[in-house]
C-alpha cells in the first residue's frame, strides 16, 4: 500500500505508518505532522522525532515511553504537551518508521 506525502510516494501500512524508513524526509514528516494535528514541528518536536527514528535505525525497535522520557532530553510531561495523542506513536509516525508494538 502506498500514500503520497509532500509529493513523495511512500510505502505505508493500513494506518499510515511508513514501512521503509529510507523513503522518509523532513517534508514528509511535516505533512504527516499536520495530518495528526501538529501544525508546526518545533525544535523540541524534532528532538523527539529524531531520537525515536535513530533509536529505531540502530536497534530495530522504537523506544518505550519510559526511555523516551529519560533519554530523549524531553521529559514525559513535555512529551505529552508536544504530542497530546501519544508521543511514542506519533513520533514514530512522523519519523517515518513502522508503528511501535511495545506495551510500555
Amino acid at each position: 500500500m502506498t500514500a503520497t506525502f509532500a509529493g513523495h510516494q511512500v510505502d505505508v501500512d493500513h494506518e499510515g505508518y511508513m514501512q521503509k524508513p529510507a523513503q522518509w524526509n523532513k517534508e514528509i514528516a511535516a505533512e504527516m505532522a499536520r495530518e495528526v494535528g501538529i501544525e508546526t514541528l518545533t525544535e523540541r518536536h524534532w528532538q523527539v522525532v529524531e531520537f525515536v527514528r535513530s533509536r529505531y535505525l540502530e536497534t530495530g525497535s522504537a523506544p518505550s515511553i519510559r526511555s523516551l522520557g529519560k533519554e530523549s532530553g524531553v521529559p514525559v510531561k513535555e512529551l505529552y504537551k508536544l504530542f497530546p495523542k501519544g508521543p511514542a506513536k506519533l513520533a514514530a509516525r512522523i519519523g517515518g518508521i513502522p508503528k511501535p508494538r511495545g506495551c510500555i
Partner: protein, 170 residues
C-alpha cells in the same frame, strides 16, 4: 400452541464510538501482580491518546502510599498461577525472592518500579485518585500519599468522572 418471538440479537450498542475515548481504571489489590496490570493499562491508554484516570481502593492504595509503595510484593501463598506449592510459598523470604526475580524480568522489558511508574503515569496527564472510604477506614491522611495523587474522592465522584468512558476493575 403459542410461539414467542425472540428479540433480534443486539449487534452494536447505539451511540457508542468505535474507538475508546476515556478509561477509568480501578486498582483494588495490593500485591505486585494486583497492581501492575492496572498501571500498564493506564499508561497504555495514554500512549494511545486515550484519557485515563486511575482510582486506588482498598489494598491497591499501597501503590500510592509513601510508607508502602517501595515494598509491594508478589503473593506466593494462595497464588496458583505461580506454580509453587503453598507450603513452599510460605517459607520466610520466598515472597521477597520471587518479587526480586519478577522485578528483574520487568526491568528488562523497561517496566518501571511502582513509584516511578505512578510518577510517569501522572506525568502523562492521567488523574491519580485515592478512595475516600478506604482512606477513612485505614485512617490515612493526604500527607501519607505520594505527591502525584490528584485528589481523594468518593465513589460518586469517581462515577461522575468516569461518565462517558469505560470502567476497568482490577
Amino acid at each position: 400452541m403459542t410461539s414467542t418471538v425472540m428479540p433480534e440479537p443486539t449487534t452494536a450498542v447505539e451511540g457508542r464510538a468505535d474507538s475508546i475515548q476515556k478509561v477509568s481504571i480501578i486498582i483494588s489489590k495490593g500485591s505486585l501482580e494486583g497492581i501492575y496490570p492496572g498501571l500498564i493499562m493506564a499508561n497504555g491508554a495514554r500512549m494511545e491518546g486515550i484519557e485515563a484516570n486511575v482510582f486506588f481502593t482498598f489494598f491497591g492504595m499501597d501503590a500510592i502510599t509513601k510508607k508502602r509503595h517501595n515494598a509491594i510484593k508478589v503473593a506466593t501463598v494462595g497464588n496458583p498461577g505461580l506454580h509453587i506449592p503453598t507450603l513452599l510459598g510460605a517459607i520466610p523470604g520466598m515472597s521477597a525472592f520471587v518479587t526480586s526475580q519478577m522485578k528483574k524480568e520487568m526491568e528488562k522489558l523497561d517496566i518501571p518500579p511502582i513509584p516511578e511508574f505512578i510518577e510517569m503515569i501522572a506525568d502523562t496527564g492521567a488523574g491519580i485518585y485515592a478512595c475516600l472510604a478506604t482512606v477513612d477506614m485505614f485512617k490515612l491522611k493526604k500527607e501519607d500519599f505520594v505527591d502525584h495523587v490528584t485528589d481523594i474522592i468518593t465513589v460518586g465522584e469517581f462515577y461522575e468522572m468516569a461518565a462517558g468512558g469505560e470502567i476497568v476493575f482490577t
